[in-house]
């Protein structure tokens, strides 16, 4: 891409460019860069301050450079425990919500049954309802049912609010899928099970993956609903919030930066793989 634009630029004769004309031609790039800066700046601040050695308890002013926090990421009491809990809950609720949500989406997209319309509408409720309301009402429900707050109540709450995102993502994918593809598979001797594994699932996979990623992200950083249903358990967002009252340890910045870098690397790797597949196709 870049190569073609460069050759195209060299081929065009140099035009005397006024700043206005330059701006007009590059308006999209300028606007895009500005938006990107706006989005990235907080992350950069977090990154920079992960190398700070704060003077007092608060990590808000630059003191001097140090890699202490990176060398001892678990140096703060209870932090890595809460991180582990958050990761565990995020993984389990992603699996649970993706499984249930995919099945629900298939049922809603493929079959006509009593209550389908109501389900279709109600599935949006967790997305639309204020989190405080949902968290509080769930908390009341658990309390009335005399369920001990902790890991399981958090997990149930997370599966619930992740579910609707998975359903929406998978349903959109299924809606754009040609039902004749499954008929064609059956016509070509694939049993219903083979049809599902070979045709339906691979075609629905992007929707399922999108739903799963969304679930993980939503579950990992949820604070409000979790705080109503956690009891004595402390998830990572709860830990960060709690410690912010007393002075955030630098290690929080380290974990935040690490998560961010990991996410960016995953996306870049995905893009790279996709690009390679595309270019391989082009050369054939």
């Amino acid at each position: 891409m870049t190569r073609t634009t460069r050759t195209a630029a060299t081929r065009t004769p140099p035009v005397r460019t006024s700043p206005v004309r330059w701006l007009r031609r590059n308006a999209v790039v300028v606007a895009g860069t500005l938006a990107l800066c706006y989005l990235m700046l907080p992350n950069v601040v977090v990154l920079v301050f992960s190398f700070n050695q704060p003077k007092g308890r608060f990590n808000y002013t630059w003191n001097h450079f140090s890699t202490d926090a990176w060398q001892h990421p678990c140096g703060v009491a209870d932090m890595c425990g809460s991180l582990g809990l958050s990761l565990r809950i995020a993984v389990y609720s992603t699996i649970g919500a993706t499984l249930l949500g995919t099945l629900t989406a298939f049922a809603l997209a493929r079959y006509r049954f009593r209550g389908r319309g109501a389900t279709n509408m109600l599935i949006f409720l967790p997305m639309a309802m204020p989190e405080v309301v949902m968290g509080a009402s769930l908390g009341t429900l658990f309390l009335n049912m005399r369920i001990r707050f902790g890991f399981w109540t958090i997990l149930i709450a997370h599966v619930m609010f992740c579910l609707s995102f998975v359903v929406v993502a998978v349903k959109a994918r299924l809606a754009s899928m040609d039902p004749r593809l499954e008929e064609a598979a059956q016509d070509l001797y694939a049993t219903p099970l083979q049809t599902f594994w070979r045709i339906t699932l691979p075609l629905a996979a992007p929707g399922i993956a999108a739903g799963a990623l969304l679930s993980f992200a939503l579950s990992f950083d949820d604070y409000i609903i979790t705080s109503f249903n956690a009891g004595s358990a402390v998830t990572f967002p709860m830990f960060v919030w709690g410690s912010a009252q007393r002075g955030t340890p630098v290690q929080v910045n380290v974990i935040g930066t690490a998560m961010f870098v990991l996410a960016v690397l995953l996306v870049v790797a995905g893009q790279f793989a996709g690009g390679r597949r595309r270019s391989a196709r082009r050369t054939v």
Binding site: D178, R180, E183, A184, D187, L188, Y189, A190, R281, V284
Partner: protein, 412 residues
């Protein structure tokens, strides 16, 4: 070689429902035999119970306008649609209860339905792999050669043109060596020129592999070009069945007469018989109709529709009427319109017997006097006249043909 059960013109008028009378003893079982096969959705009947037999190795076309039940019939043969009544037998074996993946048939779908996440090779190999065939590579390569897609095995479907996708769909179905290949409007999405080319291509492949093809189409020209036998369907029923030339020359109903090509239908009254001919009169004009080509049993005083195809008619200027030989059917008229098409010129003639007679005159020696307004005499060999039951709608099939023609335009 495969003109089954084409009813002779003199057959009983009830042959609109093609019979499947017992075959000669010892004959091989038909590739496909439908017995009382019908489909209804609630109160709507998509396909009225029909009987149909397709001999092995033939190219059979189901022709009809959209919504006539032809695709539903095809889907019932494939097992993708459950029949409400009747049975489907393939090669003498009843498969009505079998799911699609257990039937020895394969389908070329209307918009190909190629698997978008698999490349051409894997698409074509799909059926073989599902049946656990080992060493698919050679077979796939061979099949891709047959459809002339040798170098494209690693392309994804979306990287192919419409014609190439269509050939992948054919290869994907044919590689399984099905007993019957079902084609559901396989050329509908292609532009006219490519469609012509693929018609010949499909015909070549069919001759080469010798598999029975059942082809569903709304394009009457396509059906007549490709098929050995054509079944014309209308409103969930088979109107007529026969070889293309036979259907064209001897339409059994006004629907077939109008849907398959163009027909001039003249309302006439039977006045008597002379030898093997019926004599008719329409608006004072005497016409002769061979009794053997009359689809309805009428005596003197009865009414028939006398039909004649536009290209059978000779058109002469009124001044030359004396030169017309004796024994021809002749009708006077006046030209109301003409259209030059290169090979021929089409005329519309207003005559006492019919306000809009169509005549097609080959452009051999053009008579400059034949312009709109000119008095003319139309004449034709009485043997080219066919007779239809006058109780039917004279315009049946006209709209259907028009719809089909519009639909045949490549989808935008």
């Amino acid at each position: 070689m495969t003109a089954p059960r084409t009813d002779p013109p003199a057959a009983a008028p009830d042959d609109a429902a093609p019979g499947t009378g017992p075959d000669a003893a010892g004959a091989a079982p038909d590739a496909v035999r439908l017995t009382g096969l019908g489909k209804s959705y609630g109160s709507f009947t998509a396909v009225h119970p029909l009987d149909l037999a397709v001999p092995a190795g033939s190219f059979f076309a189901l022709l009809g306008a959209s919504g006539c039940g032809k695709t539903t019939t095809l889907r019932m043969i494939a097992g993708l649609e459950e029949p409400s009544t009747g049975t489907v037998a393939l090669g003498g074996r009843d498969v009505t209860a079998l799911p699609p993946y257990k039937r020895p048939v394969n389908t070329v779908f209307q918009h190909y339905a190629l698997f978008p996440h698999l490349d051409v090779h894997e698409n074509v190999a799909f059926g073989l792999r599902r049946r656990g065939v080992k060493g698919v590579k050679e077979q796939v390569a061979e099949m891709l050669e047959l459809v002339q897609l040798g170098g494209l095995a690693r392309r994804k479907p979306h990287q192919l043109s419409g014609g190439q996708q269509q050939r992948v769909a054919v290869a994907r179905a044919l590689i399984n060596k099905p007993e019957v290949l079902l084609l559901d409007e396989p050329l509908g999405a292609l532009d006219l020129k490519l469609r012509r080319q693929m018609q010949l291509e499909l015909k070549r492949i069919q001759t080469e592999v010798g598999i029975t093809f059942i082809h569903v189409t709304h394009d009457q020209e396509e059906a007549m070009t490709m098929a050995d036998t054509v079944a014309v369907m209308n409103a969930g029923r088979v109107e007529q069945l026969g070889a293309p030339a036979d259907l064209y020359e001897n339409p059994g109903s006004t629907f077939v007469a109008n849907f398959l090509g163009t027909s001039n239908l003249i309302e006439a009254e039977v006045t008597g018989t002379s030898g093997t001919d019926l004599t008719l009169v329409s608006a004072g004009q005497r016409l002769t109709l061979p009794a053997a080509r009359c689809r309805t049993a009428v005596g003197p005083g009865g009414r028939v529709l006398a039909g004649v195809r536009p290209e059978k008619i000779t058109l002469v200027h009124g001044d030359d009427a004396a030169a017309i030989p004796e024994g021809r059917n002749r009708v006077p008229g006046r030209i109301t319109g003409s259209g030059f098409t290169g090979v021929a010129t089409g005329y519309v003639v207003d005559s006492p017997v019919c306000p809009e007679l169509e005549v097609v005159v080959p452009n051999v020696e053009r008579d400059s006097r034949l312009v709109p307004g000119a008095p003319v005499v139309l004449h034709w060999n009485p043997a080219h006249t066919f007779g239809l039951d006058a109780a039917q709608d004279i315009d049946a099939g006209l709209d259907a043909g028009l719809d089909a023609g519009l639909e045949a335009e490549p989808a935008a």
